[in-house]
């Protein structure tokens, strides 16, 4: 199982990022992004440090982290696969593609494969609507994705 316990390096990284961002106007969002970009998620154990530095309550930090779909409070798999569920992709068979992804990975949305390779997420539009259906693996986007192409992407991610 994926452990959300932080390493010493990760704790140090969070402290550095807080120091870097805390004085920016509206610092919380850029800070949360920086933390997730660096260690892959926003650990609840960091809430108290963040709230102190930004003069917020822990509840406020928790409220913001959980409001936004992008932030996660637990480690994701080595790769994140986002499958678009929005109308344009639906018009080109996204529902079947998502069902295929779930079956192939053996997980539902917001879950990670047992080998820790892939976390599956739903996404509502990747802005690739002329080439639907679309998926995103980490930061790379793919258009006109067939189940066969999705299999290849997943195989590559698991390798």
């Amino acid at each position: 199982m994926l452990d959300s316990h932080l390493t010493q390096d990760e704790n140090a990284a969070i402290a550095t990022l807080i120091a870097q961002h805390q004085h920016r106007p509206g610092a919380l969002m850029p800070l949360l992004h920086a933390i997730q970009d660096t260690i892959g998620f926003v650990p609840e154990s960091a809430y108290s440090q963040i709230s102190k530095a930004l003069a917020l309550s822990v509840a406020e930090v928790h409220g913001v982290v959980t409001f936004y779909h992008h932030f996660r409070t637990h480690r994701a798999g080595r790769h994140v696969l986002q499958v678009c569920r929005a109308e344009s992709c639906q018009a080109m068979g996204a529902e079947a593609l998502a069902a295929h992804a779930k079956k192939c990975l053996g997980v539902d949305y917001h879950q990670t494969t047992a080998d820790g390779a892939v976390t599956l997420e739903a996404v509502y539009c990747l802005g690739n609507c002329a080439l639907s259906p679309a998926v995103m693996m980490d930061d790379e986007i793919y258009g006109r994705v067939s189940p066969v192409e999705l299999d290849a992407l997943i195989a590559e991610a698991k390798a």
Binding site: P25, G26, A27, L28, M29, P30, L32, H33, L54, E60, G63, V64, F67, Y68, H69, H70, F71, Q82, A86, E87, S88, C89, Q90, A91, M92, V123, Y124, C125, L126, G127, N128, C129, A130, L131, S132, A134, M136, D139, E140, I141, Y142, G143, R144
Partner: protein, 520 residues
């Protein structure tokens, strides 16, 4: 001789393998000892032809597409570097019918220039608008924007000049320009194309806005689903700063304008301007009550212009060529051009910028070439997930804000999503409620609770066809829609009934009602 080869860095092109094609072209050229300069341009917007590779010849740019990695050696064999013929030849890019029929004002440079090259931008008439603006007073700049008839392209279509004038008239120690780049509507990607294909035009537009109203700080609130746009924008901003187009002393005018990109985090509701401002302030994206208007009390309580990417990116050409030049395009009260995005089940999907007034049918068939599956187009959704579904009988409606209002529809951000005859409209209505439930900020009851109850009622309608319960449920979904329309705080809850009721009214047979009926 060094040959210039253009291969897009646009996300959609990348989604079809543009990066791999670029690498293959560079390697093949090196292998053959040929000297090329690879320019990573934006996309021309003919997405079904991506990856589209262009070569600069003495006759102009010659295009090839769609190019896959496996085609690269044969392109070299055919001497594509001299524009010679190949199975994937498309001819001179400028002569492509799809482009020739368009009126590209906002998108004048997209696909043509290197997006992060300031020299290229300036060589293609860039920064002329700002130069003119610096000669004018704030009031004169605002008047030019007002006279052009430019209305907010994010969806609300509010006159941009009037908004600017309110901010201009406020006394404050700090004002802001905020660009709404949280392009969350399915079927839309024009903001992304600008940010990835011609970011300087947005930077210039925001700078002009800042100079006009006296704002010294700008923020681009960019959706987190656009990592490539983030990279391109940051590169372009750094280049503009280095050259003195941004900073404490814009072009030696002693006027300051600073610009920063802030990432959103996947909440659709943050495309609503007040929710966006909350998010920029580092809070949950809860919608604010209006008044006060953001123009008076916006970001951090200061007067703030909030405009969509396309609105701001259209400002430079207005300041360059004049208000009348822009206003001469369009129909009725919809002046200028609209970058239309063809999406969904469409054969030729892509970006079509046209003066207001073209019909849906022209776009779907003359440009779009019909559905991708080859089946009849049964419905289109215009204006994103909160836009109405239109049946074939409405395809002759001209794209004009007021004409769309007349048929209880919206143009929104100009996205058109086509569906073929396999679509189940009851399922689409259910999805509209479901999406609203997932994305609701939770502040107002009609949206927060109504959306979930809506999913349940649609399920009931589908499960009870032909019974008395069914008739009751149809009435209930209409009552619920009425409550959401009139009782929601923002467009998310307030417009979810558009897709729901338009699906029910135009496609009653999918809800177990007789086809000819006016649906309860």
């Amino acid at each position: 001789m060094v040959t210039k080869v253009f291969i897009p860095r646009d996300s959609s092109a990348l989604s079809m393998g543009a990066e791999r094609v670029a690498v293959a072209v560079a390697q093949e050229a090196e292998k053959r000892g040929l000297d090329i300069v690879l320019v990573r341009n934006g996309s021309r917007g003919l997405y079904w032809l991506e990856t589209m590779v262009e070569v600069l010849t003495d006759k102009g740019r010659v295009a090839y597409g769609p190019v896959k990695v496996k085609d690269v050696p044969s392109l070299f064999d055919a001497d594509f570097l001299n524009g010679k013929s190949h199975a994937l030849s498309l001819g001179l890019t400028e002569e492509l019918d799809w482009l020739k029929k368009q009126q590209r004002l906002t998108f004048a440079r997209v696909g043509i220039t290197d997006p992060v090259s300031l020299d290229d931008y300036i060589a293609h008439e860039g920064y002329q608008g700002l130069k003119n603006a610096l000669e004018l007073s704030g009031t004169e700049i605002v008047k030019t924007v007002t006279d052009s008839g430019l209305r907010g392209r994010g969806g609300a279509a509010f006159p941009a000049g009037i908004k600017w004038n309110t901010v201009l008239g406020c006394e404050a120690d700090q004002k802001y320009i905020v660009c709404n780049a949280d392009e969350g509507d399915s079927g839309t990607y024009s903001d992304r194309m600008i940010m990835e294909g011609d970011p300087f035009v947005l930077i210039e537009g925001m700078t002009i806005a800042g100079i006009a109203v006296g704002a010294t700080q700008g923020y681009i609130y960019l959706r987190s689903e656009y990592p490539h746009a983030l990279k391109t924008l940051n590169e372009a901003i750094a280049n503009a700063e280095k050259a003195g187009y941004l900073g404490d002393n814009v072009l030696g005018s002693s006027k300051a304008f600073h610009l920063e990109v802030r990432r959103a985090a996947g909440a659709y509701v943050c495309g609503e301007e007040t929710s966006l401002l909350e998010s920029l302030e580092g809070k949950r994206g809860l919608v604010r009550f209006k008044p006060p208007l953001p123009a008076i009390e916006g970001l951090f309580g200061k007067p703030t212009v909030v405009n969509n990417v396309i609105s701001l990116a259209t400002v430079p050409i207005i300041l360059d060529k004049g208000a009348q030049y822009y206003a001469d395009y369009g129909m009725g009260r919809s002046r200028g051009t609209l970058p239309i995005q063809l999406a969904g089940n469409i054969k030729h999907g892509g970006l079509v910028e046209l003066a207001f007034g073209a019909t849906l049918r022209e776009l779907l068939y003359d440009f779009g070439g019909g559905s991708a599956t080859g089946r009849p187009i049964r419905a289109v959704q215009v204006g994103g997930p909160l836009g109405a579904f239109l049946p074939e009988s409405q395809f002759d409606t001209p794209l004009d804000y007021e004409e769309f209002t007349k048929i209880w529809a919206v143009l929104g951000h100009g996205g058109i999503v086509a569906f073929d005859d396999t679509v189940d409209m009851a399922k689409m209505a259910r999805y509209a409620f479901e999406f609203c439930a997932v994305e609701s900020c939770g502040k107002c009851t009609p949206c927060r609770i109504g959306s979930t109850r809506g999913v349940e009622v649609i399920d009931k309608i589908s499960a009870t066809k032909g019974s008395a319960e069914h008739t009751k449920s149809i009435k209930l979904v209409r009552d619920l829609s009425d409550t959401m329309l009139n009782g929601s705080l923002c467009a998310l809850g307030g417009m979810t009934p558009y897709p729901v009721l338009s699906a029910l009214n135009h496609f009653p047979e999918d809800f177990g009602l007789p086809k000819e009926s006016k649906a309860g």
